[in-house]
Protein backbone atom coordinates (compact mmCIF):
# COMPACT_ATOMS: atom_id res chain seq x y z
CA UNK A 1 0.00 0.00 0.00
CA UNK A 2 1.03 3.62 -0.52
CA UNK A 3 1.99 5.34 2.72
CA UNK A 4 1.91 9.15 2.91
CA UNK A 5 4.19 10.56 5.60
CA UNK A 6 2.18 13.64 6.51
CA UNK A 7 4.93 15.06 8.70
CA UNK A 8 7.25 15.10 5.64
CA UNK A 9 4.85 16.05 2.79
CA UNK A 10 4.95 19.69 1.66
CA UNK A 11 1.56 19.47 -0.18
CA UNK A 12 2.97 20.60 -3.51
CA UNK A 13 1.03 18.34 -5.87
CA UNK A 14 4.01 17.15 -7.90
CA UNK A 15 3.05 13.54 -7.23
CA UNK A 16 -0.55 14.22 -8.29
CA UNK A 17 0.60 15.22 -11.78
CA UNK A 18 2.71 12.10 -12.39
CA UNK A 19 0.33 9.46 -11.07
CA UNK A 20 -0.79 7.63 -14.21
CA UNK A 21 -3.99 6.49 -12.54
CA UNK A 22 -5.16 9.80 -11.11
CA UNK A 23 -5.22 8.15 -7.68
CA UNK A 24 -3.79 11.12 -5.74
CA UNK A 25 -5.39 14.44 -4.89
CA UNK A 26 -4.70 17.44 -2.68
CA UNK A 27 -7.77 18.08 -0.52
CA UNK A 28 -7.76 20.73 2.21
CA UNK A 29 -3.95 20.78 2.47
CA UNK A 30 -3.90 17.00 2.74
CA UNK A 31 -2.67 14.60 0.14
CA UNK A 32 -5.13 11.77 -0.31
CA UNK A 33 -4.81 8.48 -2.16
CA UNK A 34 -7.66 6.37 -3.48
CA UNK A 35 -6.52 2.86 -2.53
CA UNK A 36 -8.91 1.25 -5.03
CA UNK A 37 -7.34 3.14 -7.96
CA UNK A 38 -3.69 3.07 -6.84
CA UNK A 39 -1.71 0.23 -8.43
CA UNK A 40 1.28 0.76 -6.09
CA UNK A 41 3.55 1.39 -9.08
CA UNK A 42 5.79 3.70 -7.02
CA UNK A 43 6.11 6.47 -9.62
CA UNK A 44 4.87 9.10 -7.17
CA UNK A 45 7.25 8.01 -4.42
CA UNK A 46 10.13 8.18 -6.91
CA UNK A 47 9.63 11.86 -7.69
CA UNK A 48 8.59 13.34 -4.33
CA UNK A 49 11.11 16.14 -3.62
CA UNK A 50 11.05 15.33 0.09
CA UNK A 51 10.61 11.56 0.10
CA UNK A 52 7.17 11.66 1.69
CA UNK A 53 5.74 8.64 -0.12
CA UNK A 54 6.54 4.97 0.25
CA UNK A 55 5.02 1.84 -1.20
CA UNK A 56 4.95 -0.72 1.60
CA UNK A 57 3.83 -4.31 1.37
CA UNK A 58 0.85 -5.00 3.61
CA UNK A 59 1.81 -7.03 6.72
Amino acid sequence: MLVIKREVCGYCGACVSVCPKGALELVDAYLTVDPDTCTECGICSGICPLGALEVKNAE
Partner: protein, 397 residues
Amino acid sequence: MQSKYDVLVIGGGPGGAMAGKAVAEAGLSCCIVEKRPAIGAPVRCAEGVGNEISELVDLDPKWISSKIEGAQLIAPDGQVLELNPEMAGNEVGYVLDRKIFDRDLVWKAANAGCDVFVKSRASGAIIKDGKVCGATIEHGGETFDVYADVVIAADGVESKFARWCGINTTVPMAEIETCVQYLMTNIDIDPGLNAFYLGREVAPEGYIWIFSKGDRTANVGIGISGKMCKDGKRPKDYLDAFIAEHLPNGKIIELIVGGVSACKPLECTVADGLIIVGDAARLSDPITGGGIINAMYTGKLAGEVAAESIAAGDCSKKTLIKYDTEWRNSKMGKALKRNYQVKEIFIKLKDEKLNSIVSSVNKLDMEIFDTKYLIRELVKYNPWLLKDIGTLKRLLD
Protein backbone atom coordinates in the same frame (compact mmCIF):
# COMPACT_ATOMS: atom_id res chain seq x y z
CA MET B 1 -22.54 31.12 -5.39
CA GLN B 2 -25.00 30.98 -8.27
CA SER B 3 -25.98 27.65 -9.76
CA LYS B 4 -25.26 28.89 -13.30
CA TYR B 5 -22.58 31.22 -14.71
CA ASP B 6 -21.55 31.94 -18.27
CA VAL B 7 -18.01 30.82 -17.36
CA LEU B 8 -16.67 28.90 -14.36
CA VAL B 9 -12.93 29.08 -13.68
CA ILE B 10 -11.26 26.36 -11.59
CA GLY B 11 -8.19 27.75 -9.77
CA GLY B 12 -7.21 31.25 -8.64
CA GLY B 13 -3.56 31.35 -9.83
CA PRO B 14 -2.34 33.80 -12.50
CA GLY B 15 -4.04 31.75 -15.26
CA GLY B 16 -7.44 31.66 -13.55
CA ALA B 17 -7.30 35.31 -12.50
CA MET B 18 -6.58 36.56 -16.02
CA ALA B 19 -9.33 34.33 -17.43
CA GLY B 20 -11.89 35.60 -14.89
CA LYS B 21 -10.94 39.21 -15.59
CA ALA B 22 -11.24 38.81 -19.38
CA VAL B 23 -14.68 37.16 -19.11
CA ALA B 24 -16.01 39.77 -16.68
CA GLU B 25 -14.67 42.62 -18.85
CA ALA B 26 -16.60 41.13 -21.78
CA GLY B 27 -19.74 41.68 -19.67
CA LEU B 28 -20.46 38.02 -18.92
CA SER B 29 -21.07 36.32 -15.58
CA CYS B 30 -18.07 34.46 -14.24
CA CYS B 31 -16.90 32.72 -11.10
CA ILE B 32 -13.43 31.70 -9.91
CA VAL B 33 -13.25 28.89 -7.36
CA GLU B 34 -9.97 28.43 -5.46
CA LYS B 35 -9.57 25.52 -3.08
CA ARG B 36 -6.97 27.14 -0.85
CA PRO B 37 -8.04 29.50 1.95
CA ALA B 38 -5.87 32.34 0.60
CA ILE B 39 -4.97 33.37 -2.93
CA GLY B 40 -1.22 33.23 -3.56
CA ALA B 41 -0.23 31.24 -0.48
CA PRO B 42 1.75 29.09 -0.11
CA VAL B 43 3.77 30.41 -3.03
CA ARG B 44 5.36 27.36 -4.74
CA CYS B 45 7.47 29.52 -7.09
CA ALA B 46 10.85 31.24 -7.52
CA GLU B 47 8.89 34.32 -8.66
CA GLY B 48 11.12 35.31 -11.62
CA VAL B 49 9.50 36.88 -14.70
CA GLY B 50 10.82 38.52 -17.85
CA ASN B 51 10.13 42.12 -18.86
CA GLU B 52 7.37 40.99 -21.21
CA ILE B 53 5.03 40.69 -18.22
CA SER B 54 4.23 44.37 -18.79
CA GLU B 55 2.57 43.39 -22.10
CA LEU B 56 -0.10 41.65 -20.00
CA VAL B 57 -0.55 43.91 -16.93
CA ASP B 58 0.51 47.34 -15.77
CA LEU B 59 3.15 46.55 -13.19
CA ASP B 60 2.48 47.74 -9.67
CA PRO B 61 5.66 48.51 -7.66
CA LYS B 62 4.30 46.64 -4.65
CA TRP B 63 4.43 43.35 -6.60
CA ILE B 64 8.17 43.65 -7.14
CA SER B 65 10.82 42.32 -4.76
CA SER B 66 13.75 42.99 -7.11
CA LYS B 67 14.43 44.47 -10.52
CA ILE B 68 16.86 42.19 -12.35
CA GLU B 69 19.43 43.67 -14.73
CA GLY B 70 21.49 40.61 -15.59
CA ALA B 71 22.11 36.95 -14.99
CA GLN B 72 25.04 34.68 -14.21
CA LEU B 73 25.36 31.13 -15.48
CA ILE B 74 27.81 29.16 -13.36
CA ALA B 75 29.34 26.15 -15.12
CA PRO B 76 30.10 22.92 -13.23
CA ASP B 77 33.80 23.92 -12.93
CA GLY B 78 32.86 27.30 -11.42
CA GLN B 79 33.44 29.45 -14.52
CA VAL B 80 30.95 32.29 -14.61
CA LEU B 81 29.16 33.47 -17.73
CA GLU B 82 27.85 36.99 -17.21
CA LEU B 83 24.75 37.80 -19.25
CA ASN B 84 24.01 41.48 -19.63
CA PRO B 85 20.47 42.74 -20.36
CA GLU B 86 20.79 42.38 -24.18
CA MET B 87 21.94 38.77 -23.94
CA ALA B 88 19.98 37.58 -20.95
CA GLY B 89 16.62 38.00 -22.74
CA ASN B 90 13.97 36.35 -20.58
CA GLU B 91 16.29 36.22 -17.60
CA VAL B 92 16.11 40.01 -17.21
CA GLY B 93 13.01 41.40 -15.56
CA TYR B 94 11.69 41.07 -12.05
CA VAL B 95 11.47 38.84 -9.05
CA LEU B 96 7.90 39.23 -7.87
CA ASP B 97 6.25 38.91 -4.51
CA ARG B 98 3.63 36.41 -5.60
CA LYS B 99 1.69 36.50 -2.34
CA ILE B 100 0.75 40.06 -3.26
CA PHE B 101 0.85 39.67 -7.04
CA ASP B 102 -1.49 36.64 -7.27
CA ARG B 103 -3.94 38.24 -4.83
CA ASP B 104 -4.00 41.50 -6.79
CA LEU B 105 -4.64 39.70 -10.09
CA VAL B 106 -7.70 38.01 -8.56
CA TRP B 107 -8.65 41.38 -7.10
CA LYS B 108 -8.62 42.80 -10.64
CA ALA B 109 -10.93 40.00 -11.79
CA ALA B 110 -13.27 40.70 -8.85
CA ASN B 111 -13.25 44.43 -9.59
CA ALA B 112 -14.22 43.67 -13.16
CA GLY B 113 -17.28 41.85 -11.79
CA CYS B 114 -16.14 38.24 -11.43
CA ASP B 115 -17.35 36.25 -8.38
CA VAL B 116 -14.56 34.68 -6.33
CA PHE B 117 -14.85 31.90 -3.76
CA VAL B 118 -11.88 30.70 -1.71
CA LYS B 119 -11.77 27.40 0.17
CA SER B 120 -13.99 26.13 -2.62
CA ARG B 121 -12.80 22.99 -4.30
CA ALA B 122 -13.95 21.48 -7.56
CA SER B 123 -14.40 17.78 -6.79
CA GLY B 124 -15.77 16.55 -10.09
CA ALA B 125 -16.90 17.54 -13.57
CA ILE B 126 -20.51 17.69 -14.75
CA ILE B 127 -20.63 16.16 -18.22
CA LYS B 128 -23.78 15.76 -20.34
CA ASP B 129 -23.80 14.10 -23.78
CA GLY B 130 -20.01 14.37 -23.88
CA LYS B 131 -20.03 18.13 -23.19
CA VAL B 132 -18.53 19.70 -20.06
CA CYS B 133 -21.39 21.64 -18.42
CA GLY B 134 -20.00 22.61 -15.03
CA ALA B 135 -18.40 21.32 -11.86
CA THR B 136 -19.28 19.97 -8.46
CA ILE B 137 -17.97 22.44 -5.90
CA GLU B 138 -17.36 21.78 -2.21
CA HIS B 139 -17.74 25.00 -0.24
CA GLY B 140 -18.42 25.66 3.44
CA GLY B 141 -19.19 22.03 4.17
CA GLU B 142 -21.77 21.79 1.38
CA THR B 143 -21.65 20.47 -2.17
CA PHE B 144 -23.06 22.50 -5.05
CA ASP B 145 -23.56 21.74 -8.73
CA VAL B 146 -22.45 24.83 -10.64
CA TYR B 147 -23.30 24.94 -14.34
CA ALA B 148 -21.52 27.01 -16.99
CA ASP B 149 -21.40 27.34 -20.78
CA VAL B 150 -17.61 27.09 -20.60
CA VAL B 151 -15.40 25.77 -17.80
CA ILE B 152 -11.81 27.02 -17.76
CA ALA B 153 -9.45 24.57 -16.03
CA ALA B 154 -6.70 26.71 -14.45
CA ASP B 155 -5.93 24.28 -11.65
CA GLY B 156 -2.16 24.23 -12.01
CA VAL B 157 0.38 21.43 -11.94
CA GLU B 158 -1.80 19.20 -9.73
CA SER B 159 -4.66 19.64 -12.22
CA LYS B 160 -7.40 17.05 -11.93
CA PHE B 161 -10.27 18.79 -13.67
CA ALA B 162 -9.23 17.99 -17.26
CA ARG B 163 -8.61 14.40 -16.18
CA TRP B 164 -12.15 14.18 -14.81
CA CYS B 165 -13.25 15.30 -18.29
CA GLY B 166 -11.46 12.32 -19.83
CA ILE B 167 -8.21 14.01 -20.90
CA ASN B 168 -4.94 12.32 -19.98
CA THR B 169 -2.84 14.99 -18.27
CA THR B 170 -0.21 12.69 -16.74
CA VAL B 171 3.29 14.19 -16.74
CA PRO B 172 5.93 11.54 -17.55
CA MET B 173 8.25 10.87 -14.61
CA ALA B 174 11.35 11.88 -16.59
CA GLU B 175 9.68 15.15 -17.57
CA ILE B 176 8.77 16.56 -14.21
CA GLU B 177 11.28 18.83 -12.50
CA THR B 178 11.02 18.07 -8.83
CA CYS B 179 11.86 21.17 -6.79
CA VAL B 180 12.73 22.43 -3.32
CA GLN B 181 13.28 26.07 -2.47
CA TYR B 182 14.29 28.07 0.60
CA LEU B 183 13.71 31.75 1.15
CA MET B 184 17.07 32.70 2.67
CA THR B 185 18.33 35.79 4.45
CA ASN B 186 21.77 36.85 5.61
CA ILE B 187 23.43 35.93 2.31
CA ASP B 188 25.85 37.86 0.13
CA ILE B 189 24.20 38.43 -3.22
CA ASP B 190 24.04 41.12 -5.86
CA PRO B 191 20.39 42.25 -5.61
CA GLY B 192 20.28 43.09 -9.33
CA LEU B 193 21.45 39.67 -10.53
CA ASN B 194 19.92 36.20 -10.73
CA ALA B 195 22.27 33.22 -10.68
CA PHE B 196 21.88 29.78 -12.26
CA TYR B 197 24.22 26.90 -11.29
CA LEU B 198 24.41 24.17 -13.90
CA GLY B 199 25.75 20.64 -13.94
CA ARG B 200 24.97 17.02 -13.15
CA GLU B 201 26.87 17.17 -9.88
CA VAL B 202 24.87 20.14 -8.54
CA ALA B 203 21.48 19.47 -10.15
CA PRO B 204 21.11 16.54 -12.58
CA GLU B 205 19.03 17.57 -15.61
CA GLY B 206 18.05 20.79 -13.91
CA TYR B 207 19.66 23.72 -12.15
CA ILE B 208 20.04 25.56 -8.87
CA TRP B 209 18.76 29.12 -8.81
CA ILE B 210 19.43 32.13 -6.60
CA PHE B 211 16.75 34.71 -7.37
CA SER B 212 17.23 37.97 -5.54
CA LYS B 213 14.46 39.15 -3.21
CA GLY B 214 16.33 42.33 -2.29
CA ASP B 215 19.34 43.00 -0.10
CA ARG B 216 20.85 39.86 1.41
CA THR B 217 17.68 37.86 0.71
CA ALA B 218 16.89 35.41 -2.09
CA ASN B 219 14.86 32.44 -3.23
CA VAL B 220 17.43 29.65 -3.35
CA GLY B 221 16.07 26.54 -4.99
CA ILE B 222 16.68 23.49 -7.11
CA GLY B 223 14.84 21.47 -9.72
CA ILE B 224 16.08 18.08 -10.89
CA SER B 225 14.56 15.59 -13.28
CA GLY B 226 12.07 13.17 -11.71
CA LYS B 227 14.08 10.26 -13.07
CA MET B 228 17.22 11.38 -11.19
CA CYS B 229 15.36 11.74 -7.90
CA LYS B 230 15.77 8.91 -5.41
CA ASP B 231 16.40 8.23 -1.72
CA GLY B 232 19.52 10.06 -0.61
CA LYS B 233 19.52 12.03 -3.87
CA ARG B 234 16.37 14.08 -3.49
CA PRO B 235 16.33 17.78 -4.48
CA LYS B 236 16.62 18.69 -0.79
CA ASP B 237 19.84 16.65 -0.46
CA TYR B 238 21.45 18.48 -3.41
CA LEU B 239 20.26 21.88 -2.20
CA ASP B 240 21.48 21.36 1.37
CA ALA B 241 24.91 20.33 0.06
CA PHE B 242 25.05 23.43 -2.17
CA ILE B 243 24.08 25.73 0.70
CA ALA B 244 26.63 24.19 3.07
CA GLU B 245 29.30 24.98 0.47
CA HIS B 246 28.18 28.35 -0.92
CA LEU B 247 25.87 30.01 1.64
CA PRO B 248 26.87 28.55 5.02
CA ASN B 249 25.79 31.61 7.05
CA GLY B 250 22.37 31.95 5.43
CA LYS B 251 19.20 31.58 7.48
CA ILE B 252 16.24 29.70 6.04
CA ILE B 253 12.92 31.41 6.72
CA GLU B 254 10.64 29.49 4.35
CA LEU B 255 10.62 26.05 2.70
CA ILE B 256 8.51 25.19 -0.30
CA VAL B 257 8.37 22.19 -2.60
CA GLY B 258 6.84 21.81 -6.03
CA GLY B 259 6.75 20.18 -9.41
CA VAL B 260 7.21 21.81 -12.80
CA SER B 261 6.31 20.00 -16.00
CA ALA B 262 9.03 20.04 -18.67
CA CYS B 263 7.01 17.95 -21.14
CA LYS B 264 5.23 18.88 -24.35
CA PRO B 265 1.93 20.73 -23.89
CA LEU B 266 -1.26 18.64 -23.87
CA GLU B 267 -2.08 17.41 -27.36
CA CYS B 268 -5.27 19.47 -27.39
CA THR B 269 -6.19 22.10 -24.80
CA VAL B 270 -9.93 22.34 -25.52
CA ALA B 271 -12.96 20.03 -25.51
CA ASP B 272 -16.70 20.65 -25.77
CA GLY B 273 -17.38 23.27 -23.07
CA LEU B 274 -13.79 23.16 -21.72
CA ILE B 275 -10.58 25.21 -22.06
CA ILE B 276 -7.35 24.29 -20.23
CA VAL B 277 -4.78 26.99 -19.40
CA GLY B 278 -1.36 27.49 -17.83
CA ASP B 279 0.30 24.70 -15.86
CA ALA B 280 -2.83 22.54 -16.14
CA ALA B 281 -2.21 22.46 -19.92
CA ARG B 282 1.51 21.77 -19.24
CA LEU B 283 2.62 25.13 -20.62
CA SER B 284 5.62 25.91 -18.43
CA ASP B 285 8.89 26.41 -20.28
CA PRO B 286 10.78 23.11 -20.62
CA ILE B 287 14.18 24.80 -20.14
CA THR B 288 13.63 27.40 -17.43
CA GLY B 289 10.46 26.00 -15.82
CA GLY B 290 8.95 29.49 -15.98
CA GLY B 291 5.18 29.43 -16.31
CA ILE B 292 3.71 32.61 -14.78
CA ILE B 293 3.57 34.63 -17.99
CA ASN B 294 2.41 31.63 -20.06
CA ALA B 295 -0.41 31.05 -17.58
CA MET B 296 -1.39 34.73 -17.68
CA TYR B 297 -1.32 34.87 -21.48
CA THR B 298 -3.32 31.67 -21.98
CA GLY B 299 -5.74 32.60 -19.18
CA LYS B 300 -6.51 35.92 -20.84
CA LEU B 301 -6.86 34.29 -24.28
CA ALA B 302 -9.12 31.56 -22.85
CA GLY B 303 -11.39 34.19 -21.27
CA GLU B 304 -11.65 36.10 -24.54
CA VAL B 305 -12.34 33.02 -26.67
CA ALA B 306 -14.91 31.74 -24.15
CA ALA B 307 -16.71 35.10 -24.26
CA GLU B 308 -16.71 35.17 -28.08
CA SER B 309 -17.98 31.60 -28.30
CA ILE B 310 -20.80 32.29 -25.84
CA ALA B 311 -21.79 35.36 -27.86
CA ALA B 312 -21.83 33.18 -30.99
CA GLY B 313 -23.97 30.61 -29.16
CA ASP B 314 -21.56 27.74 -29.79
CA CYS B 315 -19.17 26.44 -27.11
CA SER B 316 -18.26 23.22 -28.85
CA LYS B 317 -14.67 22.08 -29.33
CA LYS B 318 -14.95 23.18 -32.97
CA THR B 319 -15.38 26.82 -31.89
CA LEU B 320 -13.14 26.79 -28.81
CA ILE B 321 -10.27 25.34 -30.90
CA LYS B 322 -9.49 28.95 -31.86
CA TYR B 323 -7.84 29.20 -28.41
CA ASP B 324 -5.64 26.16 -29.05
CA THR B 325 -4.62 27.30 -32.53
CA GLU B 326 -3.90 30.85 -31.41
CA TRP B 327 -1.55 30.04 -28.53
CA ARG B 328 0.28 27.39 -30.58
CA ASN B 329 0.93 29.98 -33.32
CA SER B 330 1.92 32.68 -30.83
CA LYS B 331 5.45 33.66 -29.78
CA MET B 332 4.87 31.61 -26.63
CA GLY B 333 3.72 28.50 -28.52
CA LYS B 334 6.71 28.62 -30.84
CA ALA B 335 9.12 29.17 -27.94
CA LEU B 336 7.66 26.17 -26.07
CA LYS B 337 8.13 23.93 -29.12
CA ARG B 338 11.69 25.12 -29.75
CA ASN B 339 12.73 25.02 -26.09
CA TYR B 340 11.45 21.46 -25.71
CA GLN B 341 13.82 20.36 -28.46
CA VAL B 342 16.73 22.44 -27.14
CA LYS B 343 16.13 20.89 -23.70
CA GLU B 344 16.30 17.41 -25.21
CA ILE B 345 19.80 18.24 -26.53
CA PHE B 346 21.08 19.97 -23.40
CA ILE B 347 19.99 17.44 -20.78
CA LYS B 348 22.29 14.88 -22.43
CA LEU B 349 25.40 17.05 -22.00
CA LYS B 350 28.08 15.84 -19.61
CA ASP B 351 29.60 18.38 -17.19
CA GLU B 352 32.89 18.63 -19.19
CA LYS B 353 30.92 19.61 -22.27
CA LEU B 354 28.99 22.27 -20.37
CA ASN B 355 32.29 23.64 -19.06
CA SER B 356 33.65 23.73 -22.57
CA ILE B 357 30.59 25.58 -23.92
CA VAL B 358 30.68 28.18 -21.15
CA SER B 359 34.41 28.64 -21.62
CA SER B 360 34.03 29.17 -25.38
CA VAL B 361 31.10 31.59 -24.94
CA ASN B 362 33.33 33.54 -22.54
CA LYS B 363 35.83 33.91 -25.40
CA LEU B 364 33.24 35.44 -27.75
CA ASP B 365 33.13 39.07 -28.72
CA MET B 366 30.00 40.00 -26.82
CA GLU B 367 29.37 42.97 -29.08
CA ILE B 368 28.47 40.64 -31.97
CA PHE B 369 25.72 38.52 -30.53
CA ASP B 370 23.93 37.10 -33.57
CA THR B 371 22.98 33.46 -33.94
CA LYS B 372 25.24 32.66 -36.90
CA TYR B 373 28.30 34.10 -35.16
CA LEU B 374 27.41 32.29 -31.93
CA ILE B 375 27.03 28.93 -33.64
CA ARG B 376 30.16 29.31 -35.81
CA GLU B 377 32.30 30.15 -32.80
CA LEU B 378 30.74 27.49 -30.60
CA VAL B 379 31.49 24.82 -33.22
CA LYS B 380 35.06 26.11 -33.62
CA TYR B 381 35.77 25.40 -29.95
CA ASN B 382 33.42 22.42 -29.57
CA PRO B 383 33.46 20.38 -32.81
CA TRP B 384 31.49 17.59 -31.09
CA LEU B 385 28.50 19.97 -31.15
CA LEU B 386 28.29 19.43 -34.94
CA LYS B 387 26.16 16.36 -34.29
CA ASP B 388 23.41 18.55 -32.83
CA ILE B 389 24.22 21.78 -34.57
CA GLY B 390 21.87 21.34 -37.54
CA THR B 391 18.97 20.97 -35.15
CA LEU B 392 20.21 23.79 -32.91
CA LYS B 393 20.68 26.16 -35.81
CA ARG B 394 17.22 25.46 -37.13
CA LEU B 395 15.80 26.02 -33.67
CA LEU B 396 17.70 29.23 -33.02
CA ASP B 397 17.10 30.87 -36.42
